[in-house]
Symmetry: none
Subunit: 252 residues, 2 copies
């Protein structure tokens, strides 16, 4: 198929800020993009011109996104080379378009990006959001599922959430519980040693009383220990606690 003949290209989507107003928000958007490894910013007709000092100041470590941003006069030019365009909007529009969750949209963006396509995500100006003419250029709408009674997100927040979803899906972190790094869990022999240590000492200390209940008390204790997610270090601490209590007793 033709697509395999294409050179490998960067699968990351371009984030397009359409007529952004405050330089602060442009800078914050750049930071939010870079937080999630996205670097292709495009800026359409920024209200206060370009470059924008406030944007540069607020971008701090993400300034190179502004340096390399594509600047255009119109949304049309900004997405001219893109094969798929999402428009972010909180509101229901009367335009008939597929509406994606951020997760579904970024999954689509990722799949298309990996297929060599260029994908753009449009973000509207702070107050008004995207105009219907911008939305009409998009293939689909992305809408963040916010609280309907308190729905408004600002520009940088919207960029942050889309970036988060992109990276979550791109790195395969979706759904995964990370492991405790380098954790050294006890094996069954070590667990047995701990159970026995406690059983023996508690026996001496008269813990299993009355005798008729001793067996079931021991079973609960073993059950509890084996249910604990114990590391080797934890087991050493529990051994140490008990040894110290015995030493204390023996000192009298």
């Amino acid at each position: 198929m033709a697509r395999y003949l294409r050179p490998m290209s960067d699968p990351r989507p371009a984030f397009v800020l359409v007529r952004p107003q405050m330089g602060e928000n442009i800078g914050a958007a750049a930071r939010s993009m870079l937080n999630f490894g996205l670097e292709h910013m495009r800026v359409v007709a920024p209200r206060d011109g370009w470059p924008n000092e406030r944007a540069v100041a607020l971008a701090s470590g993400a300034g190179r996104l502004l340096d390399t941003a594509m600047l255009t006069e119109s949304t049309q030019e900004a997405v001219a080379d893109c094969t798929y365009v999402f428009a972010t909007t909180a509101r229901d529009r009367d335009l008939t378009k597929p509406v994606y969750t951020p997760e579904a949209a970024m999954a689509e963006a990722l799949a298309r990006g990996r297929d060599g396509q260029k994908v753009a995500v449009l973000f509207g100006p702070e107050r008004a959001g995207l105009e219907n003419d911008d939305i009409a250029r998009a293939n689909a709408i992305v809408s963040v599922p916010t609280n309907p009674d308190f729905a408004s997100l600002n520009l940088a927040q919207c960029v942050l959430l889309m970036g988060y979803e992109w990276r979550r899906l791109a790195t395969g972190a979706a759904g995964s519980e990370m492991e405790m790094a380098g954790t050294d869990w006890v094996n069954q022999a070590e667990l047995e040693a701990l159970v026995t240590h406690y059983e023996d000492r508690l026996e001496q200390a008269g813990f299993f009383f009355p005798e008729g209940k001793a067996a079931s008390m021991k079973r609960s204790l073993r059950n509890m220990w084996s249910r604990m997610p114990l590391t080797r270090a934890d087991a050493q601490i529990f051994h140490g606690i008990l040894r110290q209590m015995v030493r204390w007793k023996e000192r009298g």
Copy 2:
């Protein structure tokens, strides 16, 4: 099953801002929470006192979260009634705890919330993040998978992402409820009582030696206890073990 006999309670987690500095960020955090339908804010020792005018100004429509926020002097008090505590942190710590993605953490929070448990998520101060002593109180860590070369998120961004994940799962993940039928987990106050009981007795027994290492030994111990999935019955067993060892000693 026992849990169906309990009154329906609010399954939403509490977001705990620990020693927040700028009022602006507290206000922005309130907005971010309400964007995703979360309303239980707790504030630990805010730098500039409480109420905070800048926070109120920035919260705009989300001011009632500040009005109803629980204010405490310490993290310990803030989570006393919670059965499960997450600590958000970007950095690798040397404390052994499970590390969750935001998605996995909010899935866990949702399941526990629906089970009638109270869950808290700790957010650290803007610059420094949570201290190890706060993290040691948590059952698990949540870490946002950011670009390692540009990892830092601010307080309100971190709140926004956790809120987003919570709502995404709460509104969409029907049927993913985890079963933890009838299990009666310790709350933080009960955990604290256990930690203190062991700390006090082990102190008497000379466990924390040499003195220069006592603080870090206590922290590891607290960290271990808070990582254990302890039921109330487990806690009673551990109290009982220690009481018995002391009785044994006292019998001489």
